[in-house]
Structure formats: structure tokens, C-alpha cells
């Protein structure tokens, strides 16, 4: 049977090299794909068919047929068909002697062998054989070339170890083509097997002086790439490199040299003095924009631009300015990036380019606009903020900006600029950032800012990131409300506008708005209407807003009852009933916070309702309100005004307060003193003072002292006045009160105090006095604690508080140097100053700088090891990406790293004398 088939097969085989295939050739495949391109289903079917053909053909014994199948598979890979199953067939094709098949094999291998360890073990022999072709001479140059290209695409550590010696020999090959390919292949070997770099460093860098330019170029490339990992070992080469830079006229090489010097200059600042003049000269002489761009890049990223070097900075910026006004959008884009980097070095450099940046903000390309947005930080001042913000705002409104397009075929086209969502989000955040920058220093007019905020609410409500944007805007509204007292009316109008806005679906903004409504409820005349409105809208609020809403309506109610227009009891009753009904619905909320707050508030309101009803029955002729309404509820909230406090103040106080030194054990009162107080208190009780009288007395005091709201303190004070024995206590109280007067930040204390008051008032029946005394004791203790803790920080806090108040009064908020301002103030100023700079967004550069710095002051060997470590790490990271030999990746990592671990510890110890010889031994052994 064989005899019959043989001749036919033989003829076919002989014809194949001419492209005469009886099987499907690549051309047929491509044509077939194009023919089936109409419907995806038929294409899929066709491709599946072809793939099965390929599977058959690849098993064939005929090498030409096999390589043809492999080529087709490589093509089909682009349609998403994995070809790694054919790796062994590819290997066979690679090992064939003919150039044509070899090329196909290496091409497929470079596409498919993703460091598959099994296949690579088999490949070592093949590669070594291919690399030794040179012995026979002739056309083998290119066969070696193909093999070398292969090496660079799929070398592993083991493979690298095996072939590094072969490669080194080839560095001195007579053919520049092979030398060049070898240099490039060595790069990959160095990456995989860093130890070899140390051993072959000198031989390798000699190639910088090769007579062939391609070889020099490749060597520069490789050194440039390696210097990204570890620049310090290449610093010794800088004279040679500089020489090349001065003499060479090939722009490609110049750019790579500049890249290389950028890396080197990061670790060796001394290079700057030599390089900078040369680079500036280069900028003058070159006509290629990419060289120009790279020169500026080199100056900026290579840290050659010092903060006071205005000459060079201006030169660079002038150049960038040219780029920015050019027609080429790419130039505009990249110069935006460089502008940003220069601005980061010293914001003053970019200040004068505000017009240019404003111009870029309106670029036809949104991605350039987006980059220009990042530059705004540097150029914004109070004079141009309005202009900038209105420019930005317009981009929301005039969405369909139309530009006249390309003149191809002499026809103009109008293309609407599509403003993507991301960009809009960036716009909103940028506007807020610009306005709130440096404590609102740039805002000329807060009325204007209010309208901006309303606009922002409108535009943000249909962006996808509205949750975050909403709370950002809310924070702004709260800040303005809090810090600009003169315009609270305006801000309140803003809030109510937002609240009543139709189609408002920016629910997160409401949280802060509702809080403001409550806190500044005194500004509202018809609180009942507002309460009703809030209750009506409440079902749409999110949980966080509801949490804030509950105290807010209580505040509103309190202010409304005691407002200038005297409310009559029936209408109060209606509002009360509404509120109680509303809160009852919340008592079963799934959020605990809402549950708790609603129950608390509704209980208070129910008591108020009782009080109102009693008042109605008792003296319906008198229009007065029950005390609970006119004194107690406002007393909850209105003790003092909230003031803005610098972020972090609380923590600073805790740190500086030296709480540990406070004596927590010794009681403040001795047993006798305590019993005396108790006795005095009972006397007062027995004095026949009615509760209401006593309270009003207390309230009178409370009003006169305005800042002090502490019935217990008063009680104690009264007691002390009644009995001279308690002078000490009185003194203590007095002292504490003084402190309190000067420092109005006593939230906990205040609320405790008021609770004590309500307790007093509400429990009309038997009053458990001993319990109350307990309370007093506990309270006193805690008070003294806070008082002591506060003392040290008080001065600073006051400084800040005063500043804030003054700022608020002056409306324009700016850092105000005051006589009593302390170090804290300076800190704030420093903070502000540093804020003025453009924010550091990219961290990658920083980190790389740190790395190089570390290597800076070490021995070369040490640094080299560092580099190796780094590379090893990288390698392992890359390997873990692949599906490696061991099934469990974690384990794999653990197992392979054995050497690496040793190195790690070595690095920590910083003594590697012992280990290095070991390693070189292993190298030699292998």
C-alpha cells in the first residue's frame, strides 16, 4: 500500500515550495475568512472547520505542510484561538534546517511560547545548536539572527544560564548584524538572569565603542532599559555616553541617550552641571520636536531644574508654549503633561501662562482639556477664578460645541464634541477644588459661589458618580454656611432652592443641607411649612440624611415656636402631631441610628404635646407657651454657636493634653464635703422653691452668662454661696466656668448639663436626689478631665477659633496673622503655602527616586545586587502571571524563591561578602 501512495505524496511535496498546495494555504484561509465575513455565525463555523484542518495538518510528517499549518495557526491566533496546544509542533518546525520553515517556527514560537517551562527545556538544545551555526559560515548569519530574535522573546532563567556563554562569544562576531542581535538578546538574558550582568558587564559595555552604529544604538538602548531598573551601576559610563551624545547626529540615538541620562541624573545630581548646558544647546540646535520634547523631559524628570532656575524653566516653557499653540494635538497634549511637571517643581514658573491654559481649556480635544484642568491649580487666583469657573460651567451647558473639521476633499464638516461623563465629573471636582482651595482664598464673592453651587447641583444630578459629588457639594454648602455668617440668609435660600428643586436626584447633597436647616433654623420664619415639606419629602431621603433630619426637625420646631411671630397653641399642636406621626414611622427603621434618634425625639415631642394640651386646658386665656417648648427644647441646641475648627485639632489636643498626668483617682470632694453638699442640696429643695421657679431662676442665670449652660454647676454654685465651707468648691466651679467662657467647645458637657435640666423638670414626682448627686460627681470628674486636657491646647485653639471668627466676619477668608497667633498658625500658613503648589498626583516617580537614592551611597557590588534583587522580584512577579510549573501559585512562589530569600536577608544585613563568592561559584559550576 505504501508503494502506491508514495509517488503521489512525493509529487505533492515537491510542488509545495512553489506555493502549490493541495491542502489549504494561508491565502485560502484568509480569503475564506473574508468571504465569510458577512455573518458572524458562518464565520465562526468556517473558522472551526479550518482549525480542525490545521489540527490534522500539523500532525503530518511533511515539514512544509506542518509549517504551513503552524503559520495558519499563528494567523488564527489573531481571531482569539489559543495555539499553545501546538507548541511541540512549533518546536519541530523550528528545528527544521530550511530558513523558511525555521522562520515560521520562530515566529509562531515568539507569539505562542509564553514561557511554558516544558517546551523551553526541550528548546535549550535546539537553541544552542542554532546559535553555533556560525562555524559553517555562509548565509547562516541570518539563521543565527532568527534564533537570537527568538531568544529575546522567550528566554527564561534556565535558558539564559545555558546560553549566556554562547552569546558572549558572539559579541565579538565579525558580522555587525549578529553583534547587534546579540546585544539585544543579552538584554533579555540579563533581565532573567541578573548575575550574568555582573560577570559580563565589562565585555558588554565595550560595545558602546563598536565601530558599527547599529550595534552602538542597540547597546545604548539596552543600557537605557537596564538603567531604569538600576541606574547607579551605569554612572561610571557617563563620560563615554556623554562623548556619544556630543558626537552623534542620529536623533533616534540622541533621544535614547537623553532617556538614559534622565535615569542617571536621578541618582547622580552632579551630572547636571555637565549635561544641562549641552541639553540647552541641543534644544537650540535641533529641529526635531521629539528631540526637543525629550530634552525638556530630561531636564524636568532628571531633576536638573532647580526651583530658582528661572532661565532654563522659561526656556522650556517657551518651547512648550510653541507646542501648545501648534496645530498638532499630540504636541498640545504632551506639553500639558510637561507643564504640569514643571509647575510641580515651582508653581511660579507656570503662573504667567494663565492665558495659554485658559486657551487649552477650550481645546477641541477633550483629553487635552482634561489635562489642562489639572494645571488650573497653579494659575488660579482671586482675579480670574470667576472667569475660569464660568468657562468650565459653560462646558456643561453648551454640550454640543460644534467645530469645523478637516478640509479633506475641500469639504468642511461639523462635528459635535462629545463631552464624556468622566470629564464632566472631573469638571465638577475641579471647580469645587479650585473654589475651596486654601481656605476659600480665591473666592471674591460668596453670593456668586452660592449660585455656582446651585448650578453644580443641577449639573451633577445626572452624572454617574453623583453619590460622591453630592456629598462634596454638600460639604461646600455646609462650609459656606458655617464660615460666612454675613451671608447665611443667602446660603439658606440656596439650600431651600436645592431642597425644593424638582427632579432633584442628587440625594447625597441633602444630608449637609438638612443639617444646615436645623442648625440655622432661626433664619427661617415659617418653620412649620418647612417641617411639613421635609416630612413630605422624607421618604425619598437616604438613611444618612434621615439620621440628620430627625434632630433637624426638632431644631426647626424649637426655633419656630420661639420665633418672632408668636405661634398659637392649636397650630403648634398640628405641627407636633405631624412630627410625632412622622417619627413613629421611623421607629421601625432598619437603621439603628434612625430608630434610636426617632424614638428619643418623638418621646420629647410627646411630652411637649402633653404640655401644650395642659397649657390649653389650664390657662387658655394666656398665650404663653409651655416651658418645655420655650426653654428646654431650644436649650438643647442654642447654647452657643458652632465654629469652624481646623481639621486634626481634636487629635492634637488629645496628644498635647497629657491626659496621663491627670489625677484620676483622688476624689474631688472628701466624704465630709460631699455630705455637706448633699445636705445643702436638700435644704434648697426644702426651701419651698417650686421647680418652675427654680428653673426660671436658673434660666435667668443661664441667659446672663450665655455661654454657661449647666444647671448642676449652678446648683453647686448656689450651694456654695449658701455655705462658706464650700469656698473651695466654689472656687473650683468659678475657675471652670471661666475656662468654659473662654472656650466654648464643650459639647459633651453641655448636653449632659441640659439632660440634667430636663431630668429635673420632667420628673415632677419624687426626685431621686442621691442619684442626682452621683451624676454631679461623675460629671464634675469628667469635666475637670476635659478642662485640664483643654488647658494646654486652649491657647492654640483660641487662636484658631478667633481667626475663624474673624475670617468669617470679614467674609473673605484669608490667613490673618494675629498677635496671639501661635505656632499652630504658622503651621496653618505653612500648610497653605504647600497647598499652593500643584498637588502631587503621580507617585511612581517618587518611589523610583527613593530606590535609586538608596543605591547611591553603596558599593557598586551592593548596588548591583540590589538591581538583581529588583529584577528577580520582577521576574518572579512575571512568572507568577504565567501558568507555571507548580499547580499552586503560592507554593510555587515559596519554592522558587529560596535563593531570593537568602538575598533578601542579605540585603537587610548589608553584608554580602560571604554570599557573593558562593554565587559566583554556582555560576561557574553551571
Amino acid at each position: 500500500m505504501l508503494g502506491v501512495v508514495q509517488p503521489v505524496e512525493d509529487v505533492k511535496q515537491r510542488l509545495r515550495p512553489f506555493g502549490l498546495f493541495f491542502e489549504r494555504s494561508l491565502k485560502d484561509l484568509i480569503k475564506g475568512i473574508r468571504a465569510h465575513g458577512d455573518s458572524p455565525e458562518s464565520l465562526e463555523k468556517y473558522l472551526a472547520e479550518e482549525l480542525s484542518h490545521c489540527r490534522e495538518e500539523v500532525n503530518s510528517l511533511d515539514m512544509n505542510l506542518k509549517s504551513n499549518a503552524v503559520l495558519k495557526l499563528a494567523y488564527l491566533e489573531m481571531y482569539g484561538f489559543d495555539m499553545s496546544w501546538a507548541n511541540f509542533h512549533i518546536l519541530e518546525v523550528m528545528s527544521s534546517t530550511g530558513m523558511r520553515n525555521k522562520r515560521v517556527g520562530y515566529l509562531a514560537a515568539s507569539q505562542s511560547f509564553n514561557r511554558d517551562p516544558d517546551i523551553l527545556i526541550l528548546m535549550t538544545n535546539l537553541l544552542q545548536k542554532d546559535l553555533k551555526y556560525s562555524a559553517t559560515g555562509g548565509n547562516d548569519t541570518y539563521k543565527i539572527g532568527v534564533a537570537l530574535s527568538g531568544v529575546s522573546s522567550f528566554v527564561t532563567k534556565d535558558l539564559a544560564k545555558d546560553i549566556v556563554q554562547d552569546l558572549l562569544l558572539m559579541l565579538n562576531n565579525s558580522k555587525p548584524y549578529i553583534r547587534k542581535k546579540t546585544v539585544v538578546a543579552l538584554f533579555k538574558v540579563y533581565l532573567q538572569y541578573p548575575e550574568s550582568l555582573r560577570d559580563t558587564f565589562d565585555q558588554f559595555v565595550l560595545k558602546l565603542e563598536d565601530e558599527d552604529r547599529s550595534v552602538v544604538s542597540a547597546t545604548v538602548s539596552v543600557i537605557c532599559e537596564l538603567s531604569k531598573q538600576n541606574p547607579s551601576i551605569f554612572i561610571q559610563l557617563s563620560p563615554v555616553l556623554y562623548e556619544i551624545l556630543v558626537t552623534i547626529d542620529n536623533n533616534w540615538i540622541i533621544i535614547r541617550l537623553l532617556k538614559l541620562f534622565t535615569n542617571l541624573s536621578k541618582v547622580e545630581p552632579k551630572l547636571k552641571h555637565k549635561l544641562l548646558p549641552k541639553i540647552v544647546e541641543l534644544m537650540d540646535s535641533t529641529s526635531a520636536t521629539s528631540v526637543l520634547y525629550e530634552s525638556i523631559n530630561c531636564i524636568v524628570k532628571g531633576q536638573m531644574l532647580s526651583t530658582d532656575d528661572f532661565d532654563v524653566a522659561m526656556k522650556c516653557l517657551k518651547c512648550l508654549n510653541e507646542f501648545c499653540i501648534s496645530q498638532d494635538p499630540n504636541l498640545r497634549y504632551i506639553s500639558c503633561l510637561l507643564f504640569y511637571k514643571i509647575g510641580k517643581i515651582n508653581p511660579q514658573f507656570v503662573e504667567q501662562f494663565d492665558e495659554l491654559i485658559l486657551h487649552l481649556l477650550c481645546d477641541v480635544d477633550v483629553s487635552i482639556r482634561s489635562k489642562a484642568l489639572e494645571l488650573l491649580n497653579g494659575i488660579t487666583h482671586d482675579g480670574n477664578l470667576k472667569l475660569i469657573v464660568s468657562t468650565l460651567m459653560k462646558q456643561f451647558v453648551n454640550e454640543e460645541v460644534v467645530v469645523i473639521e478637516n478640509y479633506r476633499n475641500a469639504a468642511t464638516r461639523d462635528v459635535p464634541i462629545v463631552v464624556p461623563e468622566d470629564y464632566k465629573i472631573k469638571l465638577v471636582t475641579t471647580i469645587i477644588k479650585l473654589c475651596s482651595m486654601n481656605n476659600f482664598i480665591n473666592i471674591p464673592d460668596f453670593k456668586w459661589y452660592n449660585t455656582v453651587l446651585i448650578d453644580l447641583v443641577v449639573v451633577s444630578s445626572d452624572l454617574k458618580d453623583k453619590t460622591r459629588l453630592g456629598s462634596m457639594i454638600g460639604e461646600q454648602i455646609k462650609s459656606v454656611m458655617l464660615r460666612v455668617p454675613d451671608l447665611r440668609n443667602v446660603t439658606m435660600t440656596t439650600i431651600i432652592t436645592i431642597l425644593t428643586m424638582e427632579k432633584m436626584n442628587l440625594s447625597t447633597v441633602l444630608k449637609e443641607c438638612v443639617w444646615c436647616l436645623g442648625e440655622y433654623s432661626k433664619l427661617i420664619e415659617n418653620g412649620d411649612a418647612l417641617i411639613q415639606l421635609l416630612i413630605r419629602n422624607a421618604p425619598h431621603f437616604n438613611a444618612e440624611t434621615k439620621v440628620v433630619l430627625i434632630p433637624a426637625i426638632l431644631k426647626l420646631f424649637g426655633s419656630w415656636c420661639n420665633g418672632p411671630a408668636n405661634q398659637d397653641l392649636p397650630s403648634i399642636k398640628i405641627v407636633l402631631n405631624d412630627m410625632i406621626d412622622f417619627l413613629d414611622t421611623l421607629t421601625t427603621s432598619s437603621s439603628f441610628e434612625i430608630q434610636e434618634r426617632s424614638i428619643e425625639v418623638s418621646e420629647i415631642l410627646k411630652l411637649s404635646l402633653d404640655a401644650v394640651e395642659m397649657q390649653e386646658q389650664d390657662n387658655s386665656d394666656e398665650g404663653g407657651l409651655p416651658l418645655l417648648l420655650c426653654e428646654v427644647i431650644p436649650g438643647f441646641f442654642n447654647s452657643y454657636e458652632l465654629l469652624p475648627i481646623l481639621a486634626g485639632t481634636q487629635r492634637r489636643l488629645q496628644e498635647e493634653g497629657q491626659i496621663s498626668s491627670v489625677d484620676l483617682i483622688t476624689p474631688f470632694l472628701t466624704q465630709t464635703e460631699l455630705s455637706n453638699i448633699l445636705k445643702d442640696y436638700d435644704e434648697i429643695q426644702e426651701d419651698g422653691l417650686s421647680h418652675t421657679d427654680r428653673l426660671s431662676d436658673h434660666d435667668g442665670k443661664y441667659r446672663s452668662e450665655s455661654d454657661l449652660d449647666d444647671s448642676v454647676a449652678n446648683d453647686a454654685g448656689n450651694a456654695a454661696a449658701g455655705d462658706e465651707v464650700h469656698d473651695d468648691l466654689h472656687f473650683l466651679e468659678e475657675q471652670r466656668r471661666q475656662e468654659q467662657l473662654s472656650n466654648p467647645f464643650y459639647l459633651t458637657e453641655e448636653s449632659e448639663g441640659t439632660k440634667a435640666t430636663t431630668n429635673d423638670l420632667l420628673s415632677l414626682d419624687s426626685n431621686d436626689s442621691s442619684k442626682r448627686e452621683d451624676l454631679t460627681l461623675i460629671k464634675l470628674a469628667s469635666e475637670n478631665l476635659t478642662a485640664n486636657a483643654g488647658k494646654t491646647g486652649e491657647r492654640k485653639k483660641r487662636g484658631k477659633a478667633k481667626r475663624a471668627v474673624v475670617l468669617a466676619d470679614e467674609v473673605v477668608i484669608e490667613p490673618n496673622p494675629r498677635a496671639d497667633s501661635t505656632t499652630l498658625h504658622q503651621k496653618v500658613a505653612a500648610l497653605n503655602k504647600s497647598d499652593r503648589g500643584i498637588n502631587l498626583v503621580t507617585q511612581s516617580q517618587l518611589s523610583s527616586f527613593d530606590f535609586s537614592k538608596k543605591g547611591d551611597d553603596r558599593e557598586l557590588d551592593d548596588a548591583e545586587n540590589e538591581a538583581e534583587l529588583e529584577k528577580l522580584r520582577k521576574k518572579f512577579a512575571a512568572q507568577s502571571l504565567d501558568t507555571s510549573n507548580v499547580s499552586e501559585p503560592v507554593e510555587d512562589q515559596e519554592e522558587v524563591i529560596v535563593i531570593k530569600k537568602k538575598k533578601k536577608s542579605k540585603k537587610k544585613k548589608k553584608k554580602n561578602e560571604e554570599d557573593v563568592p558562593d554565587e559566583s561559584n554556582t555560576v561557574q559550576n553551571e
Binding site: 539585544v184 499630540n330 483629553s367
Partner: protein
């Protein structure tokens, strides 16, 4: 110097004509990149710049007739302009090799297109040879060897 992550050739219809990955990526990641980038880049308007940010790196692209050349590069390391020049150099070289190159040339001779690319860009996507002449000479010599192989085969 450029440090290319990948190079893709995509037709205006969104078909991949050539792809070369210089970093080991999973099939899934590759497909994601292609599926993400294709509509993004095909949707760009003529006057827009050729550089865009995509996930953690930058992408530059250039359109030649119906083909988009897309390159993923490392931000802060690569020179965007140089990469654009590189693409241009690649196209120029192919233009000489094929003689007024068009999309069909690349489709039917994708192995040659890869060869030219491999001569120019090697290793981890770093540029190896910037000289058009050198690249062409190397590729053409290899082609000549190919033909010799064929001849030998037939004569054997």
C-alpha cells in the same frame, strides 16, 4: 527609547490584523484590552490627539488609511512622540518592502509584517534598529534564503 507593552493593528471595521504582545498577559487580559480599545480608538475624531490614558498605561495610536496602529506604552517612561515616529518608521519600512503598502498586503503577508517588526523592535518592546535600510536588507536577505530553500527542495 520606547518600552512598548503591545502593538495592535486594527482595521476600521474593528478587525485585528496584527498583534504583538511584549508582556506576558493572559488570554483574557488580551481580549479585554482589544475589546476596550477598539471602540475607544475608532471613535476618536480626526482633530483629537493620538494619546489617551487607558487603565494603568498610555495608549497611542495612529491611523494610516483604514488601519489603526495602536501601541500601549508605559507612562512617564516612554516618549510619546518617539512612539508615533516608530509607528511611522514601521509603516515607511513596510511601504518600501511591499511597494505602497495597503491593508491587504499586511493581511496576506502577516508573517512578513511580523518579520519587519521583529527586526525593528525586540525584547520587551524596545527599539532595536531604527535604520530603515538595515531592516529592509535583513528581511530581504532572509527572503532570499527562503527562496533558495525552495529551490533546493525542488531540486533534491
Amino acid at each position: 527609547m520606547s518600552h512598548i507593552k503591545y502593538l495592535l493593528l486594527v482595521s476600521r471595521q474593528g478587525k485585528v490584523r496584527l498583534m504583538k504582545w511584549y508582556q506576558p498577559l493572559t488570554e483574557k487580559a488580551k481580549t479585554k484590552i482589544i475589546n476596550d480599545l477598539t471602540p475607544l480608538i475608532l471613535g476618536r475624531k480626526p482633530k483629537m490627539c493620538n494619546i489617551l490614558d487607558y487603565s494603568d498605561h498610555k495608549v497611542i495610536y495612529r491611523r494610516y488609511a483604514s488601519l489603526y496602529f495602536i501601541i500601549g506604552i508605559t507612562p512617564n517612561v516612554d516618549n510619546e512622540l518617539l512612539c508615533l515616529d516608530l509607528v511611522h518608521r514601521y509603516v515607511e519600512t513596510m511601504d518600501v518592502y511591499f511597494g505602497n503598502v495597503c491593508e491587504l498586503d499586511i493581511i496576506f503577508n502577516f508573517a512578513k509584517a511580523y518579520d519587519i517588526l521583529n527586526e525593528m523592535v525586540m525584547c520587551d518592546g524596545s527599539l532595536a534598529e531604527s535604520s530603515k535600510k538595515e531592516v529592509l536588507y535583513a528581511v530581504q536577505t532572509m527572503d532570499g534564503m527562503d527562496d533558495n530553500d525552495k529551490l533546493e527542495k525542488v531540486l533534491s
